[in-house]
């Protein structure tokens, strides 16, 4: 009989099992891999050429080299990070495998850890080739941002995970009827976090909302770096503080929604 594992403690082994499960799926399907690269590449090319055009006609944009491409690449880290998390979770629902997972000794925190790792794996497969395309087409080297890039990345990925965790909870509670949320929720952040324009452009009252969202600090920080050549560590720390709060709220909401899913009996039947 068993009894080897109490199933109580956090298990790296179980996280590794789930990562292996998603990796098997990813490598078995070339359309899934192509999809990771296709849209970020299209976005980057579109904004890159737009930047090229306006920089030839406006002095400010000529000075602000790479702002659009930088914005689109950082936006993709935020968007694709959440999508990578949510799609891995959705794969369990599409496969009707959630019951097997929930009935196994895998704990919610281990499940979330596996989804976070897969979010980074999927992001890497999609974004790394696109950053090299940006160098090849527009001479914009995201990697040259060095430590600043690391600070931007940490803050953006933390936000994307928080949103992904919240969406996973909603999906557990409401089934695939809430699927569209996984694909569209991040677009709410697109205008509010001021990806392509400074916060000052927003109406005064909306600026309060913008500054309550961690990515806003990252995009402001990126503009400061690329236009004024100043790395704003203060903005990164503020973003980190907001991210800690956002992550805690998302984790709490996930646990509450999971609890509610057990009460509603929606873990076995996760259809519409």
């Amino acid at each position: 009989m068993s009894g080897r594992d109490t199933g109580v403690e956090f298990s790296v082994n179980r996280v590794a099992a789930m990562v292996r499960r998603y990796w098997y799926l990813l490598r078995s399907s070339w359309p899934r891999i192509l999809d990771l690269i296709y849209w970020p590449a299209v976005q980057m090319l579109m904004w890159g050429f737009l930047q090229l055009y306006v920089s030839q006609n406006a002095g400010f944009f000529a000075r602000a080299g790479g702002v659009f491409i930088g914005s689109v690449l950082l936006w993709d880290i935020l968007f694709r990070g959440q999508l990578g998390f949510s799609i891995s979770f959705l794969e369990e629902m599409y496969a009707r495998n959630l019951g097997n997972i929930m009935m196994s000794p895998l704990r919610p925190v281990e499940f979330i850890a596996a989804l976070m790792i897969m979010s980074i794996v999927r992001l890497s497969i999609g974004m790394i080739p696109v950053t090299f395309l940006a160098i090849a087409f527009f001479g914009f080297n995201l990697w040259s941002l060095g430590f600043a890039l690391a600070a931007f990345f940490v803050n953006l990925i933390l936000t994307s995970w928080s949103i992904g965790i919240f969406v996973a909870g909603v999906l557990l509670r409401n089934g695939l009827g809430a699927e569209s949320l996984a694909w569209t929720i991040m677009f709410l952040f697109l205008p509010l976090t001021c990806v392509y324009y400074p916060v000052a452009v927003l109406p005064h009252w909306l600026q309060y909302v913008a500054w309550a969202l961690p990515p806003t600090y990252v995009f402001e920080g990126m503009r400061s770096l690329l236009i004024d050549h100043v790395f704003r560590a203060d903005l990164m720390l503020e973003a980190l503080a907001f991210n800690v709060v956002l992550f805690a709220v998302a984790a709490f909401a996930f646990l509450k929604l999971l609890q509610s899913a057990r009460v509603q009996g929606s873990l076995l039947q996760t259809g519409e």
Binding site: D5, Y24, A95, N100, S104, G265
Partner: protein, 253 residues
């Protein structure tokens, strides 16, 4: 040691309400360690909800479920690695091969010597030639056997089966029943089996719980049920209970 502690599964006055509708209505039963029990009932009788509450997937509205001494769903992580299940409501990921699926679940359940365990189960459930085939490419009968292999990976002490031989041809179904019975005897596992297949329940189960509209209508050995209802098959007993003839017959007697 009290009855609850000596039972592998103890269900006490269990109730589950869904938005005002009663799915399970105050049922109680205890399954001794090493026993095999059939849970019978028509559609909507509350079998799947009962099994889901035993697994900890659904929180009871009231009452308690204790599995291997742990209260479900509160203490489920104390015992989930000692349980397993098979149900038509879940599938294995289709794009993964049978071997990949089994090895992922084996790792989740901390099975030692994963390759050896998968090899043994593949032989026992006649899966060897399909091990490296995507699970989605298998026939429904083969998929059922893969699900059974997953359910037996961790040598569970408590095994919950929902229609375990659905989609199997009679020969394979009979062979799977034999395999399940052998597993229970060899490992001393407690098995709860929900099924519509009366032959299966009659052959495998030493006790039958019949549910109707969320309540337990009858609970006895197959032999005593047949004698009490004056029937020759469990199917007739089931029909008597489902159509409300059981009470009339007993009243007449």
């Amino acid at each position: 040691m009290d009855a609850q502690n000596s039972s592998a599964i103890a269900v006490d006055t269990l109730v589950k309400l869904y938005k005002g509708a009663t799915a399970v209505d105050g049922i109680s039963f205890r399954l001794p360690t090493g026993s095999i029990t059939g849970l019978l009932g028509g559609n909507g009788a509350g079998k799947t909800t009962t099994i889901a509450m035993i697994m900890g997937l659904v929180t009871p509205t009231s009452g308690t479920v204790t599995v291997l001494g742990a209260q479900m769903p509160k203490d489920r992580y104390r015992v989930l690695h000692r349980m397993n299940f098979e149900s038509p409501y879940v599938d294995m990921p289709m794009r993964l091969t049978v071997r990949q699926n089994l090895s992922v679940f084996a790792q989740l359940y901390a099975v030692p010597d994963i390759d050896e365990r998968i090899g043994t189960l593949a032989v026992e459930l006649d899966l060897t030639e399909f091990l490296d085939r995507p699970t989605g490419k298998l026939s429904s009968g083969q998929k059922t056997r893969v699900s059974l292999a997953k359910a037996l990976l961790n040598r569970p002490e408590v095994l919950l089966l929902d229609e375990p031989t659905a989609s199997l041809d009679p020969d394979t179904a009979d062979w799977v029943r034999g395999r399940l019975d052998r597993y229970r005897i060899e490992c001393g596992a407690t098995v709860l089996l929900a099924s519509h297949n009366m032959t299966e329940v009659e052959r495998l189960c030493e006790r039958v719980i019949i549910m109707k509209k969320g309540r337990i209508e009858d609970d006895d050995t197959p032999e005593r049920l047949l004698a009490r209802y004056g029937r020759e098959t469990l199917e007739d007993v089931f029909l008597d209970v489902a159509r409300g003839r059981g009470q009339h017959r007993e009243a007449a007697q």
